[in-house]
Amino acid sequence: MARVTLTVNGVARSVDAADPDTPLLWVLRDRLGLTGTKYGCGVGACGACTVHVDGAATRSCQVPLSAAAGRRVTTIEGLSNDGGHPCQLAWLAEDVAQCGYCQPGMIMEVAALFAAAERPRAGRVEAALSGHVCRCGTYGRMRRAIRRLAGEPGKGA
């Protein structure tokens, strides 16, 4: 039994992992009760499990717990206290979500890019989101939300 300490949403957490290879995704969901981070494929192909590790958008299904030791992890639950992060507000303003299952991963991907560069180009953000899967096809509204965030008066889609 390995004990791993990491910071999750600003709080230091100690996790006893039966297996230190347990992906961060399952630690968050099944041990820490943070179910906003979603399981979609387990192989880094869909992006539903995206969180921030030391500020960078990261697919949590690809991070073994041992590699998260000492890191700063932010999940969708910790993106803001009140759902008022600019990305969350832009998503609501454009009514992006349909079933919503992939959306926390999408929002975390976008939030990391906007945190890293104050005003990233919409095209760069769209390229990053093109590695995520939304089976409901909410891409057009995502595009509008991204342009809203980027302050670009895009034609939407």
Binding site: D30, Q98, G137
Partner: protein, 719 residues
């Protein structure tokens, strides 16, 4: 699909007698007992003494926006303050007898009963206010959660009236609003679940957490009739976190402290399977069955005039064979359910489109009566027809019973592909004949596809009327029509999939019309409009087609898309536009124009899809447009991206890398033109899907001169 099956898919809401709505706590919602100041005139609506309005939704939310749309209908007739409305998800029971969500029927089927339910509550609140003021109810009006008496300037909030209103008789024939006075219905309302979704609080099936629960993965053969013949129990138990290994009917469950340990324990089982005779099956063998059926007699479901004779006599005639591939649902939330079996009762939390089926099948497994089984319907991370089956819920019940603990069974992505109920491949043979003036005088359409095993065993004597969808309801005025249908018993698991049988049939129909237009040097829009100038509405069997309405959406889509103007010039690429239309089950009318280009290597870019739609009275414009956007992306995925193949009896593509779906960088501009209407609303979940692929294929012909008769389209087809 038979009428009864179609009705089952649609499952309209049944309005039972007036009954008190008991608040049923859902996971993530606070539990409260109904205070006696609550007005609860029926099972759909409650108005509390705190002025909170609760709308009970008996349909599953899978992204189509049903929780928002149904609550809007109730709130409209109640004249509620929309901000005061919250949603409670119904559970199967006497008041909610038919909760199946399918066939795009939720809004259509709920429109009348929910309007009446809201109007009844409103009349009771008005009557309570009138009595308190000693005035006639007719002198009062309602607005945003208040009853007002204009003559005296008095007003009372619904919360101040609910207790008194609750003592009044429930009106049997409440007066409904004139649609012209709607304030909420027909506007743009963001989905009610949006804030929970963007903050990670929305609870899907897989997010269910119950005290003392464990997580499980199940090893089973993906083939019908397959079984486990060998497994290493000790190796699984040696995996850290694994608590137990349980033999089930047809599988082995590994129960653990967390999902990852359950997956690891299942891997450690190293289970070996006897897949049975189905393991020799592959895609080619399945196609041989379809081809044999397509070349056989088939069952004639529609006949007008003599299509064979008219075809033979036609100076211009064309025939072609169209094929569409097997497809997966690939919901982002994989199959999962949570169950607790104890004390002669069972409780299930599941992302289902069909709670009554879950209840019935779980009860049968456990030897309980259905009322001893409680089904909590969570949010669904996509449904698209897959979750009309109950297999993944019943599996969790079996594991929970064996483990004697609450258990959540989670499918890996691979499990989800292997255990899908596939959209079956189809072959459609169509032929059309033109007279010397270029008018279509003969049409034959015959389709062969596999039966949908999700709905039961193959029944060759089932009434085929209405089939094939998209062929039987050929909407154009042609004097000689023959339609035939061949349903083949499916040896693999198949099921309902967004727009079910329409995709292949509308693809074939709308593409051959385009071929006939080209063969007679007619504009494809003009050819269709001429065929829709016949009698309208037209009736075939139980279907009624609004030909004039279909012509209207065709004109609107064409106009918005710049039909008739040259396609945009794109350096190094060949561009073209294509058009197609469909009427869905005699209801929603859709026309679509695709603007595409093709590069030298045959790479296809879809630049723009314009949709014109008449779905009757729009309930939520934002939701309606969302369904168009979603349906277009769904269709482009099956038209241009992945397909499912079968090898050794099972699905060969078991991940998103092997089964690619359309991504953000590939999506076109999507524009939607909505026809204003005050007739009762039709559905929108599936309707925008079928005409997209033929519009794209016709556009590719305009760009390249090549006819594409197989989906998905490959670059090699166009290089």
């Amino acid at each position: 699909m038979s009428t009864t099956r179609r009705e089952w898919l649609r499952a309209g809401a049944a309005l039972g007698g007036a009954a008190l709505v008991l608040r049923v706590p859902l996971f993530g919602e606070s539990s409260e007992t109904a205070p006696d100041t609550t007005l609860a005139p029926n099972q759909w609506i409650r108005v509390g003494g705190d002025a909170r309005v609760t709308a009970v939704v008996a349909r599953s939310e899978m992204g189509q926006g049903v929780r928002t749309a149904l609550a809007m209908i109730l709130a409209e007739e109640l004249d509620a303050d929309w901000k005061s409305v919250s949603i409670v998800q119904a559970e199967p029971g006497p008041d909610y007898a038919r909760m199946s969500t399918g066939g795009s029927g939720s809004v259509q089927g709920s429109w009348k009963p929910l309007r009446r339910a809201g109007a009844a509550a409103r009349e009771m609140l008005v009557e309570a206010a009138a009595r308190r003021w000693g005035v006639a109810a007719a002198e009062c009006r309602t607005e945003s959660g208040r009853v007002r008496h204009a003559a005296s300037g008095r007003s009372l909030g619904y919360g101040e009236l609910s207790a008194a209103a609750a003592l009044l008789p429930v009106p049997k024939e409440p007066r409904l609003k004139d649609p012209a006075s709607f304030r909420l219905v027909g506007t743009r309302v963001p989905r009610v679940d949006g804030p929970a979704i963007v903050s990670g609080q929305a609870a899907y099936g897989i997010d269910t957490r119950v005290d003392g629960m464990l997580f499980a993965a199940v090893a089973r053969s993906p083939l019908p009739g397959g079984r486990v013949v060998r497994f290493d129990r000790a190796a699984a138990l040696a995996i850290p976190g694994v608590r137990g290994v349980h033999e089930l009917d047809g599988g082995i469950a590994v129960v653990a402290d967390d999902t990852f340990s359950a997956f690891a324990g299942r891997d450690a089982l190293a289970a070996q399977y006897d897949d049975g005779p189905g393991s020799r099956l592959d895609t080619a063998a399945l196609w041989r069955r379809l081809d044999a059926a397509a070349e056989g007699a088939g069952r004639v479901t529609r006949r007008e005039g003599d299509a064979a004779e008219a075809l033979a006599a036609a100076p211009v005639r064309l025939s072609a064979t169209f094929r569409t591939a097997f497809q997966a649902h690939a919901t982002l939330e994989p199959g999962n359910s949570t169950a607790r079996v104890a004390g002669g009762r069972c409780e299930i939390w599941t992302p289902t489109q069909n709670p009554q089926r879950v209840q019935k099948e779980a009860a049968a497994l456990l030897g309980l009566s259905p009322d001893e089984v409680t089904v909590h319907v969570t949010l669904l991370g996509g449904g698209f027809g897959r979750r009309l089956d109950a297999d993944y819920a019943v599996e969790a019940v079996a594991v929970a019973r064996a483990a004697k603990k609450p258990v959540q069974v989670v499918w890996s992505r691979k499990d989800d592909f292997l255990r899908d109920r596939l959209h079956p491949a189809a072959r459609v043979d169509v032929a059309g004949g033109l007279d010397a003036s270029g008018r279509v005088t003969a049409w034959t359409h015959r389709a062969a596809t596999f039966h949908l095993s999700m709905f039961g065993a193959f029944n060759p004597t089932e009434d085929p009327e209405g089939n094939p969808w998209g062929g039987y309801d050929f909407p154009y005025a042609v004097p000689n029509v023959a339609v035939a249908w061949s349903e083949v018993e499916s040896p693999i698991a198949t099921g309902a999939w967004r727009s079910v049988y329409y995709p292949a049939n509308v693809f074939a129909r709308e593409c051959l019309l385009d071929e006939l237009a080209a063969a007679s040097r007619q504009d494809p829009l003009a050819l269709r409009l001429a065929l829709l100038s016949g009698p309208s509405p037209a009736t075939v069997g139980r279907q009624v087609f609004d030909r004039a309405g279909l012509a209207r959406v065709l004109r609107l889509a064409a106009e918005r898309a710049g039909w008739g103007s040259p396609s945009p010039v794109r350096a190094g690429r060949r561009s073209g536009r294509g058009i197609a239309a469909n009427v869905y089950d005699g209801s929603t009318l859709v026309a679509q124009v695709a603007d595409v280009s093709v590069g030298a290597s045959g790479d296809v870019v879809v630049h723009r899809i314009v949709t014109a739609v008449d779905a009757g009275q729009p309930v939520n414009l934002l939701g309606l447009e969302g369904q168009v956007e979603s349906g277009v992306i769904w269709a482009l995925s099956y038209a241009l991206k992945g397909e499912i193949t079968i090898a050794a009896g099972r699905v060969a593509e078991t991940g998103f890398a092997e089964y690619p779906l359309l991504t953000l960088n590939e999506m076109p501009e999507i524009e939607t033109v909505i026809v204003p209407s005050s007739s009762a609303p039709f559905g929108m979940g599936e309707m925008p899907v079928p005409a997209v692929a033929p519009a794209v294929a016709n556009a590719l012909f305009a760009a390249t001169g090549r006819r594409l008769r197989r989906l998905p389209i490959r670059s090699a087809d166009l290089a």
